[in-house]
Symmetry: C2
């Protein structure tokens, strides 16, 4: 039996233990958003430290932050093999509305091979999967095929407020060839996926000012520009009628998808009509020439997230509003420069502002989109591991949202991230009755154990030379 | 001494009495908006009845409504002379912010020939002016040159909620050749004015619906129409960039101003820059080809009074909003049909609604603009009376706002209204330190006394035959 066969066999033969352990972990109500659970959050961190030590990570410990502690650990280190930083989080979302839970959120329950509990899929179950995979190597071989480091935080559900500073101050300890995160879903049941791209974000807020106070629309209406009209004109100017962004320079740097990527997306079991129904919109609408998946995964957008002007209460108030406001965010794709995009949007707005009002722009911050090179060794190794364990080809997917820590890893630690999650998209993250399919819990751990083996034979120098 | 000289002389020789009377009237805190002043409102009505009887209107009395009573009275009636309905109101606005009053609002104070008190100009002072003018005739001749009826309400400041029903039910008692209202300002100090046109109003509220709930802008942004964008597109489509309303059929029926009217407006002492400064807008902006006065007095508008969509709190929420809303009112000018305008606006909105959303329109009600024919005997007589008393030509002005009772008089009682007010535009109606210049209080009463004389010689048949 090869080493990796031993590791996988270890995982298969310790399922009872793994479920029992995870049960203990899930019983801790580590809700970071609620101050009354502050001690529970710490308890979960301490539980992880103990469990990592038991798995063979002797140096596992808590590192304090101004908020909840970070759990860090590193396993056996050897030169000439890749180093991997495993990121996850041990805090969970609040549970309300409590009445909608069919089982108590912190009393894990298995029904038909599905584990119900808050944190089961987001992210305690997936963190435990990573821990189990590492343990399977340490218990069978006394080593791991790659150098493994754990970085597990307790504030992910409240915006990772202290993580950036922690990473900034611990660059040497956290240095690795790449990061892996198991906190995302597969594409669908039976479709394990490697997510290789995320969109970034750039934000701004605009205020259009006209009269210094709301004016009587009878006395003044017709002789002054209405700021609500001016704002509408500005917002309408951001897109052409077909949905393309009309801001000059907005698409600078955006790379067209390769034929291979488009074919890969097109081959995914994606039902446009079901997707539309899940939104409730009467029809889908987006940039022409791209499929809905391409639109949300790979094309940049400008969205008004909120706007307001004048009287918005019940009834009627015949005024010319004094001001009009909009909150705007752009979803960015890899190779777009957030600062450049913000500059171009600001220029567009200033250029298109109608007369009779003044425009104020509060320029926010931007995070770039991220992409993991498809020829990165972690990607090809993950593909092989998935095929071996699931007996099916991995889907190559991207995601339209942002995962800020991926940007942090890219910008501060200068490393790409492999997003290798085993949850399913409908497992109720953040909602009542969160759950996790045990099949993916077990297969996920095995896939990861195999991934380390496949990567252990690769030259670390390969990791720096890949590009997309 | 002619009859009218006697009447004017009576007014001049009873100034002390008039001021003392008005003082009593103003001391009553008849604030209709505040239920704790309900008895005060009734007290003011009873005071008026007593005062009208004292003036010679023996039949003056209260008529109950479901709210505050209406004061009605009619004087000596003779055939073959015009009948005039005098409308006014005896309720007043609340007084807060109290701290800003330099004198107690219900302790009338005269400083430098200016009377400070809540209600001094809006409208008790002007109601008393009408009463004094009528009394001057009754006390000197035992008759009035025209048939006079008073209709004085106690709910004007809370939307005249029971007046329409009252008028509907008392059409015979209120029948007249025209109505006169002294509840508006002169154009400026030293510029007495006849207001011969008001704008009307048509209202609607629109809702643009996209997704059935706010969507994650990362997961869905780019593949669905954002309702805020759709609403902005709709609002932007309502005007051309130069400020003209772009709705087909919107201007149907609108009459161009005559050269005489334009010249009259142009000759008014109007300072565009001062007007702009009073708004705070960086520049004036309106339909090209019209002066600011023409724009607000004589041109119809579409104004967004309020709009809202998505997240409008502090901070950021990266969503595609589910809905977007706008409250819209049109200011209408005479000869525009409100129903036609609403239909055209609704058609425009439906035609211009972008794909991917649904549009809901809540069609509100419409009131037409009103205009008093410039050759109406009341207008020419008022011009003569003003010139006689003030020694200056009356300004012919219009107003951009609406006075609902004028529409009621037009639609139910089928009569035009002469707006003959003697307040000044900056006398703080509805604000702290409301005041009324005594010069205009006295001259106003004299002008009205004279007006009745000039009208008394006109054939009632003339009143029906005038048109604009």
């Amino acid at each position: 039996m090869s080493d990796h066969q031993q590791a996988v066999q270890y995982l298969k033969s310790h399922r009872e233990q793994q479920l029992s352990d995870l049960n203990d972990f899930l019983c801790i109500p580590s809700i970071s958003a609620l101050s009354e659970h502050r001690q529970d959050v710490r308890l979960a961190a301490e539980w992880l430290v103990a469990r990592l030590i038991q798995a063979g990570f002797q140096n596992a410990h808590l590192d304090e932050t101004p908020g909840n502690p970070v759990v860090v650990a590193s396993g056996p280190h050897a030169p000439y093999r890749p180093t991997v930083l495993i990121y996850g989080h041990y805090d969970v979302q609040p549970v309300d509305p409590m009445a909608q839970w069919t089982h108590p959120p912190f009393e894990p329950t298995v029904i038909d091979e599905v584990l119900y509990a808050r944190g089961s899929s987001d992210d305690k179950g997936q963190v435990y999967m990573q821990l189990a995979a590492a343990e399977s190597w340490l218990k069978t071989t006394g080593d791991t095929p790659v150098n493994l480091k754990f970085l597990l935080e307790g504030e992910e559900e409240i915006g990772s407020i202290h993580l950036n500073e922690y990473i900034q101050n611990h660059q040497d300890e956290l240095a690795a060839d790449f990061a892996v995160i198991s906190d995302t879903p597969m594409f669908a049941a039976g479709v394990p996926a490697i997510c290789y791209g995320l969109r970034g974000l750039a934000a701004l807020e605009i205020t259009v000012r006209g009269p210094f106070q709301d004016l009587h629309s009878g006395v003044f209406g017709g002789a002054v520009m209405n700021p609500a009209h001016a704002l509408a004109t500005l917002i309408a100017s951001l897109h052409t009628p077909d949905g393309t962004v009309a801001v000059s320079g907005f698409y600078d740097g955006v790379q067209e998808l390769t034929l291979k990527e488009r074919q890969a997306f097109a081959s995914l079991p994606f039902d446009s009509e079901a997707f539309r129904q899940s939104t409730g919109s009467p029809t889908l609408f987006g940039e022409p020439g791209y499929s809905p998946l391409e639109q949300v995964w790979t094309r940049p957008t400008i969205e008004v997230n909120g706007m307001w002007s004048g009287f918005i209460g019940e009834g009627r108030k015949t005024i010319v509003p004094s001001t009009a406001h909009a909150k705007i965010t752009c979803r960015l794709v890899p190779h777009q420069d957030p600062e450049h995009v913000l500059t171009e949007v600001c220029t567009h707005l200033k250029t298109h502002c109608p007369p009779g009002v003044t425009l104020e722009i509060e320029r926010g911050e931007g995070d770039p989109g991220t992409v993991t090179p498809l020829n990165h060794p972690s990607v090809t190794a993950a593909e092989d591991a998935i095929e071996e364990i699931y007996g099916t080809k991995a889907a190559y997917i991207r995601m339209g949202g942002s995962i800020p820590v991926v940007v942090t890893f890219q910008e501060i630690l200068k490393m790409p991230t492999l997003l290798l999650g085993f949850a399913l998209p409908d497992e109720n993250f953040h909602a009542p009755n969160e759950h996790f399919h045990l099949e993916n819990f077990f297969k996920g751990a095995q896939t990861i154990a195999l991934l380390w083996d496949y990567l252990g034979s690769r030259d670390p120098l390969e990791f720096a030379s890949t590009t997309r």
